[in-house]
Symmetry: C2
Subunit: 410 residues, 2 copies
């Protein structure tokens, strides 16, 4: 039974321009952490991620949601988590503050993720193992498919999961091989050209075959110059992604993306405002065959559905610490699977739990095992940090979702 519920505002200033992008020049990587203290002695830890200011507001909202878990049995909660998710996300007064977006939804992510963590710890298995061992029906019982009825009914979600069962064994070797990573920390926005060049070499030496550069400068020539540096150092076979962090408007994006074609980017990420589905659809047509990736700022399954319907993005970067937690991450992954679009979650080791979720997506849902973002700056703060060796995530073996923070160790 869940007894005490604690919420903590934990912030980690970064060093040396790490984390900087075209929009966010001086972030303080922060977590709004929910901990569910179970009378078994186990503690479920979940969080949402923010850039500092306002992290306390996410905590306050998480406190409000968290109260609903008091005295609940985690197995009972998770047997029909769909119900709790609907109840919390549609709280009739809190709903006005979204609905299903912004601070209240970040708070829901924190609470939801704590539930999944406690569930996995209670069963004594890592989260990926818990999830792949659930039946399709048990998975669907944890999801809220409201407002998706035009694209994904409960029956269709079940069928989609069942259809993947016969071929699961073929995908299990990923557990031994590890899930590929890609390196985002070669080219933060404020890094000098020289540092970008150095970091590229380092990433290659470490075994990465994919890496990402921040673009979106006021001066597009800077973007183009730096992109060429990365391509030059990386060589023609490495996947190079470019991330504009919403910096361009549509006419700018069309112009600059066409220029960036010359370095053959694997994708261009967040070219413009994350609410602008139509602009992304127009852009995708205007710059084909260059592909778009987006999703780190898309707050819920409904907007993901609109993006998928519009055919605007070739990669969906849903983030379990932005949407309503693991539950909605799985919902969005199912939608993506239906539309044949790969899921490449935003933040890997920074989000910690995505290393579990991509394994589930691959094994149980048949998603391609593409790669997972690697941003190491917060690794040192976790009890069980993600381990990336030779450019590959080692499969986590400790029970839970790997989200316990050293600073909050009981």
């Amino acid at each position: 039974m869940i007894g005490k519920i604690t919420i903590d505002d934990v912030r980690f200033p970064l060093e040396g321009n790490a984390g900087s992008d075209a929009i966010h020049r001086d972030p303080i990587y922060s977590y709004a952490v929910t901990r569910l203290h179970d009378d078994s002695g186990l503690t479920g830890t979940g969080f949402a991620f923010t850039l500092g200011e306002g992290n306390n507001l996410v905590c306050k909202a998480a406190e409000y949601y968290g109260r609903q878990l008091q005295d609940k049995d985690i197995e009972e909660v998770m047997a029909n988590f769909s119900d709790l998710f609907k109840q919390l996300s549609n709280d009739q007064q809190f709903r006005w503050l979204g609905p299903h977006k912004g601070i209240v939804h970040l708070a829901l992510a924190s609470v939801t993720n704590a539930c999944y963590d406690l569930w996995a710890k209670k069963r004594g298995v890592p989260l990926w193992k818990l999830l792949i061992d659930l039946s399709p029906q048990q998975i669907v019982n944890t999801l809220d498919l409201s407002y998706l009825e035009d694209e994904l009914t409960v029956g269709q979600a079940l069928d989609l999961l069942k259809a993947q069962q016969p071929t699961r064994a073929e995908r299990m070797p990923i557990l031994a091989q590890g899930y590929p990573g890609y390196d985002t920390s070669i080219g933060w926005f404020n890094y000098s050209d020289e540092l970008v060049r150095e970091n590229c070499k380092k990433a290659l030496a470490e075994g990465f075959t994919a890496m990402k550069l921040k673009v979106g400068s006021a001066d597009p020539e800077r973007d183009i110059r730096r992109a060429h540096i990365v391509r030059e150092v990386a060589g023609p076979d490495v996947k190079v992604m470019l991330d504009a962090n919403q910096q361009w408007n549509l006419p700018q994006a069309i112009e600059i993306c066409n220029k960036l074609k010359s370095i053959n980017p694997y994708w261009i990420e967040e070219p413009t405002h994350p609410d602008d589905v139509n602009a992304h659809a127009t852009l995708a047509k205007a710059i084909a065959p260059v592909k778009l990736a987006l999703g780190e700022h898309v707050p819920n399954k409904i907007i993901f559905k609109n993006y998928l319907q519009s055919g605007s993005a070739a990669f969906m970067q849903v983030d379990a610490v932005r949407v309503g937690g693991v539950s909605e991450f799985i919902t969005v992954s199912l939608l993506c699977k239906k539309f044949g679009i790969p899921v490449v979650p935003h933040v890997g080791d920074m989000g910690q739990l995505h290393q579990h979720l991509v394994l589930f997506n691959h094994i149980a849902m048949g998603h391609e095992a593409l790669f997972l973002e690697h941003i190491p700056h917060l690794q040192k703060h976790f009890v069980n940090p993600a381990q990336i060796i030779g450019g590959v995530y080692k499969t986590p073996q400790v029970p839970g979702s790997s989200c316990d923070l050293l600073v909050l160790k009981d």
Copy 2:
């Protein structure tokens, strides 16, 4: 110069099921109020509106934004409000919590609206008068048109306002006539059929020629029965609107809206989730010629742009206490004008300042003077409440935006 800045969390419980709809059964109408105390002795008051829980979080966020106004001169701020709006709405850490949506954006509305109120008081005129006396260039200087470049450049916004200047005089009589209202309080969700019938009669007797019923019952027959009651009492010539408050999914909406055609609704409002642009576009086609209205939960100009581009709604209900205040309300109104879609703001007297904004939209922008929502439950709490006589809003004459609350009177 702006000295002290105070933020207040003000909540007004309602009586007798007033305010209830299909989603929000027991709201506590609340304001997150920003007051800018000028050294001239004047106080600018602005607010965002919520349904109670979490109103304190909007206040906290408004405090953060409000600090930026300390020691500023309001005329200087407003001469280029575009800059302040961009600065606040893109605060690099707070932005992560939206961007441009949810609690942070509600807070921005509160602060923005206080600026406009102080500006009008400083000039000793009601807000509508201040706004219609500004030149097109001065108006555009208060707007942030970022991410709208594909539909509305600064030059196009200027042209649009200039094009309306020669015919302004023809639209000035609205000031003497008053702006028509429509009555939303005939049919709150939890009202009995008998009370709905009585309220309809009362509204007709008061002079209203348009009224709205809450629908979205689990049992669609209840909706249909009550809609027929309203049509029967109102007669064939009164405009009857139906408001589902997001209760239906798309397949349900198609089915039920087609059934509700029989009462000839003037519009059907918020049929499904406010983030679902595609669903509204599909629905609009499926139920034509019945028209859709939406916007009370649309948080920003970018999503409005997407709705307008998709041709899904025939009426846009932008709300200056939901989007980033008066500034973004005007931006969205310009977008609507470009697309030929009328603006019918969410909440009239409850929002108080909309009575000013519809006069501006009509006179300076050439928007049709359709009607403005009337929800009287909070009138008694205002120093200068909206006056609706014979179904018509009397033009406010007191300086400012009519948003001062009795409970916060200096």
